[in-house]
Amino acid sequence: MPSQLVRKLAANEFVITAEIAPPRGGDTSGMLKAAAFLAPFVDAINVTDNQGANMRMTPLVASGLLVREGIEPIMQLTCRDRNRLALQSDLLGAAALGIHNILALSGDDIGCGDHRQGRAVFDLDSVLLLQTITAMNNGLDMNGAPLSGATSFFAGAAAAPEVEPFAVTRPKLSKKAAAGARFFQTQAVFSPERLAFFCESVQPLDVKVIAGILVLKSARMAEFINRAIPGLKVPQTIVERLKSAVDPAAEGVRIASEMAVQCRSLCAGIHIMAMGRDEVVPQVVAAIHN
């Protein structure tokens, strides 16, 4: 299956991605329904990997099922739950299933999820995972030993444009690019100015920036995110806007749409995080196209 994501990014066409979570059970019908609903509006769909360290179906299988449905996945792969053998063998499995896009992540702390007594692996980190993917694309494993054939992954990495202190994170972004990241999917951004600064900062790296757009539902949700989700900060101005809105859910879509529209002139695409409200994704997408 030729990758829409690769083609559009190469052609400097604005890309839109969304995300789904694999199920907490063996029944994939709900996940496939969600993916089928989102597919007409987006270029690719991220498949999360035990997100927030909460146990779910492996994204390898979930992404493979999307491919079978003709939907392009971006398989998220974290270093938290797999050592270097498991990472590479899952990557070979992904290649066999026709999964093309990989988002290489370190992974959230295991202590924030539903298996807190578990052992976090972190044998590799995201930079080393990207290096491994690049090696595999060159027909080698991470030790330089030949594979029976080269893979053709399109690898991406995470970035946090609004994190402070940004300077501390900047060298790692260079390393991610050097290790083979071709796109950054960012943490939620709320400030166009900050996104512009970020894009300018990483411009020399020649990595496409796909900005994270978070669709909030209420001030309470924003406050929960600020309290409980690592690396995500909703600014107080947005929280206030949601608080004073007559219809906070609609206001959340408006906030997301405004940011999405701003992204058109700033970066290569957006990644919509609908926080369980997939039905609003078409509205945000429509805002961009208008």
Partner: protein, 215 residues
């Protein structure tokens, strides 16, 4: 030093079920400093066990319980009290507990949990700075260990959970990578962070490990 903490008394009592007589062993080194098994703690344990109906046949605080030959020798010096006991309750690190187990066929009860190799901040305050990874990377990271001080042990920079310089895992701790960055910046060698640090070699961490110095 090895930082250990005493197990809750109920757990120790459970481990001592089925026997009445107990010989208590402390350690004069690390376990004394972290108050898990020095003179004072051994004395208190004796009181607690007596109050709970046990008979303490004797106590000893060995100078470095991890020293296997010395532990064996010291226990032999108390042979009668040791022989009388059903259990040897050891208040030292796990290494010391096993020195005792090697020196005696008696049932050994661990009265502590060994936590980490600790730096001493001040009296009663210990911090983990080194994980004994066997493959020191401090030369690449400004003298701050990312393997240990970064909660995820990440070698190439902070994770996405760092916020305002704080660690994702413990908001009250500073992100190790912020400390590393700031140190290297002050030393005008922040460009070191542009080099990819290769994956760790966990062959150094295989256990049980041993070292025999050449004569």
């Amino acid at each position: 030093m090895i930082v250990s903490t005493q197990k809750p008394l109920e757990q120790i009592m459970t481990a001592l079920e089925g026997g009445k007589r107990v010989f208590i062993i402390g350690c004069a080194k690390c376990a004394t400093v972290c108050k898990a098994g020095g003179e004072e703690e051994v004395f208190r344990m004796q009181d607690a066990l007596t109050a709970a109906g046990k008979e303490v046949t004797g106590t000893i605080v060995i100078d470095e319980t991890c020293h296997m030959l010395r532990t064996g020798r010291d226990l032999r010096s108390r042979r009668e009290q040791v022989d009388e006991a059903d259990f040897l309750l050891v208040l030292s690190c796990g290494a010391g507990i096993q020195s005792v187990a090697e020196a005696s066929e008696k049932k050994v009860v661990a009265g502590t949990d060994s936590k980490f190799l600790g730096n001493i901040r001040r009296f009663g305050q210990f911090e983990q700075r080194c994980s004994l990874c066997g493959d020191c990377r401090l030369n690449d990271s400004g003298g701050v260990c990312p393997v240990t001080v970064c909660a995820k042990g990440l070698l190439n920079g902070p994770c996405g959970g760092m916020e305002d310089g704080a660690c994702e895992v413990d908001q009250n701790s500073r992100c190790a990578w912020v400390t590393i960055y700031e140190r290297l910046e002050r030393q005008q060698r922040v460009e070191r962070l542009d080099e990819i640090t290769p994956a760790r070699d966990f062959a150094h961490k295989r256990h049980p490990n041993s070292l025999v110095l050449e004569k």
